[in-house]
Symmetry: D2
Subunit: 143 residues, 4 copies
């Protein structure tokens, strides 16, 4: 059964603005990561704990589409969902909405490889069946 | 005639590493931007000057593929090329090579919309014909 | 009368770590700023609004002392107080405590000059008496 | 004998600007670090190598004074010197000059503790006499 995930909130900071007066495009990848950490915690999977047990979710690719700028002090509501999961690869999709206006400002995804600390692929299903189960349950493929 | 562009070099910094001991994935988008600024300068187009004249190249989308990690004190050799240019949209592709090993570590692209400061699309060809000419000449579509 | 200020909370992020496995020292200045934005909001002074009205609080100096490292997923409890205020200059002091352990990890300050947008000093008392009053009331000089 | 150190150069990047149209204050601490890495390399001491040998130079405190703003595409000329060295503590002072105008924009310092990887103080003089010698020679106390 899927766990109902609460959105993650981030207030846009002054140090994240650029001289165009908007949030610099590189920061949204950091907000995706903040949301992902929170998402994993809501699934009962602390990423910090996973690393200590020897599992890493390295980023293979990341993509971001900028639809509307966000500005200093805007509140971003960020949602994540797993849209692909194979036991050794995972795709997470994100949407960033301006909480006040409800406008979709940014969307994107990150693709991850699940590795043992020694940078070898891990077969989660066999080696960490509990983590496998949680992530697999949570996967919602997009058509 | 295309201008021969020299690669851009960036030394990977300590503050760009993360606790995995590698350069954090979000930084490569910043290195792409550093390279793009240098690329534009080599074309005789200071982006700072363009902004003062009222032209902005906002980022519409950005994508990055992580093939091999880079580490503290590695020297990155970054190349850019324009692979699509229409007068109001532009795509720039990047490759990041570890100078020492010659290994391709990161590739990606950014897509840009060319706007007037008031956030209206600009028809470069008519309004800034010289900028149009330079960018159009430099475009090398990938097949 | 002084307004009772709630602490500001920040979860330490992965992208804020470095290869020593701790939060990189440069980030604490950004956390000070996050806390300051929140502090001003609690005083009823949105810094974004102040900028729109033409008042800027530029940073003249900043100082940070690192007592204990913080790590990924630690929750930082950050408090700010104004310790000097003269109408055109202001000092804010900060303390960062690890919420879980209660240990003081970081302390520091920022000194600010209050300017009009045109980079001229502003006499807050005369030109923005309401802002002056709030900040002056909030000032708690350290002996 | 002191080694003659060349200044370090950094081009101010777009992602380092903020909505005030200047380089955000937090970035100068990162430029100090870039300069320090380069400074150590010029002394024949790769900080990366030192870490592999088990010596860490953790930051105990950092200070920055902002005299004049720097802007996008400005070239910063950054100089460092060791002004205090005791074998287990070290202070490095920095100056950032706008290359074009020659104006001093930023000054500051960082204080470091020299530690073994296990976070114990190291007596450089005994344990790493060669590193001790180089740093000690380079020290220029300010009066």
């Amino acid at each position: 059964m899927k766990i109902q995930i609460r959105p993650y909130y981030h207030i846009a900071q002054y140090y994240e603005t650029d001289q165009m007066g908007i949030i610099h495009n590189s920061n949204y990848f950091r907000w995706f990561e903040e949301c992902r950490t929170d998402f994993m915690n809501q699934l009962g999977l602390s990423y910090g704990e996973m690393e200590k047990q020897g599992v890493r979710a390295v980023v293979l690719a990341s993509y971001c589409e900028y639809k509307q700028p966000m500005r200093y002090e805007d509140q971003a509501q960020i949602t994540a969902k797993i849209t692909h999961f194979s036991g050794y690869k995972m795709t997470v999709e994100y949407e960033i909405i301006n909480s006040l206006s409800g406008v979709l400002c940014v969307s994107g995804y990150t693709r991850h490889g699940l590795l043992l600390s020694q940078m070898k692929p891990v077969r989660l299903e066999r080696e960490f069946p509990q983590i496998y189960q949680i992530l697999n349950n949570q996967c919602e493929p997009t058509e």
